[in-house]
Amino acid sequence: MPQKTPESASPSRALALAACALALGAPLLSGWAGMAAGAGAAGCVLYGRWKWAKLVRQGKAQRDALRDRLLQSQKLAAIGEVAAGIAHEINNPLAVITQETEWMEHLLAPPLPMSEQTYSAVRQGLKDVQAQVNRCADITHSLLSLARNWTPILQPVDLNTLAEDMAKLVELEARQRNVTLDRRYAPDLPEALLDPPLMRQAILNLLVNALHAVEGGGVISMATAPGPEGGCILRVADTGPGIPEQNISRIFDPFFTTKAPGKGTGLGLAITHRIIDRLGGTITAESPPGKGAVFTISLPPTPAKEPQP
């Protein structure tokens, strides 16, 4: 705007310039222009100011509206993805249930009494239906645990022991799959205040995730370390293919999965994220090129009693 400053201005030119400059938001000019243009210009200056303020207001409103629309469409997209995930996970059991009930209906068609063979086939059918219903119940249960604002029950624990419990659980299967489970526990780890079963679930999910990543053999390393200001850090790294850059921001989204259908619901990491969040900690995922994936949990020294949802 300064390039518009005139060397020797006639009143009319000054007036026009002043209005123009003000409309463009050059407050420095206003004093000078006011003096040069006199009283006639003052009205115009005021008009310019008003006009400018109005433009700014309109601009802001437009920007806010656009931002709201963007947020809204992002929200809808996220809901859409979750809905698709739920639909997919529930549809498979529903298909099996439909098949089973049709089959049982066929079996139970007269004449009666039924043979022993039919009887046991129907019983098996009911069992299969029950299994599918349980599968659906597990999914809704997991979804609820994502949605609910449950309060963790905090107990002082040794994070190393807790991590080792879960490592033992995974170890046998890891060995069978030619995967080494390397553990490095810091001996000087401060006692952590956390919800033990939830933390176990979070660690187990990370280990299972790593186990799936190194399909065909590799190394999973789990390590603990003292964190800043008396907190604790737990890291799970694997030598798998890593996470593509475009996926890393979505890795904790519910139902986001790169696994084949039927292999994991895509809720494990979302639940882990939720648990760590409720414990007042943070979890991050990194994937340095060619080096697999690294998940880092950082727990605060004394988790806030009521972490924000």
Partner: protein, 129 residues
């Protein structure tokens, strides 16, 4: 500190009875159940604090039993115990609200620690409610 009332659910009679005896000797009020259905029947009759539940049982297995227990008595803490660790049952069990997953053979001291921690959690949960 008073001690947890414990129900041991395991189809292997010898293991079950030995564990119950050892827990009783340490001052824990303890009882046996030899399958999932029996466990549910016992729980319907009287309250327990902590359940030590075998994962691999004929008929209603540990995971099914856990599901039913958590449905009917959500506050009871369940420790899963298994001779053969399976990741799938571990993930299922922990996400269904099991407190811990222990691998046999488990040192009695470790089991007691787990029982005490689970019991403490149940008490804290009741206080918070």
């Amino acid at each position: 500190m008073d001690k947890a009332k414990v129900l041991v659910v395991d189809d292997e009679r010898d293991l079950n009875e030995t564990l119950v005896k050892r827990l009783k000797r340490r001052g824990y009020e303890t009882q046996s159940a030899f399958d999932g259905l029996e466990a549910l029947a016992v729980l319907a009759g009287e309250p327990f604090d902590v359940i030590v539940l075998d994962v691999k049982m004929p008929g209603m297995d540990g995971i099914e039993t856990l599901r039913e227990i958590k449905k009917r008595h959500p506050r009871i803490e369940v420790l899963l115990l298994t001779g053969h660790a399976s990741v799938e049952s571990g993930v299922q069990g922990m996400s269904m609200g099991a407190n811990d997953y222990l691998i046999k053979p488990v040192e009695i001291e470790d089991l007691l620690k787990a029982i005490n921690q689970a019991y403490e959690r149940k008490r804290l949960a009741t206080e918070n409610a």
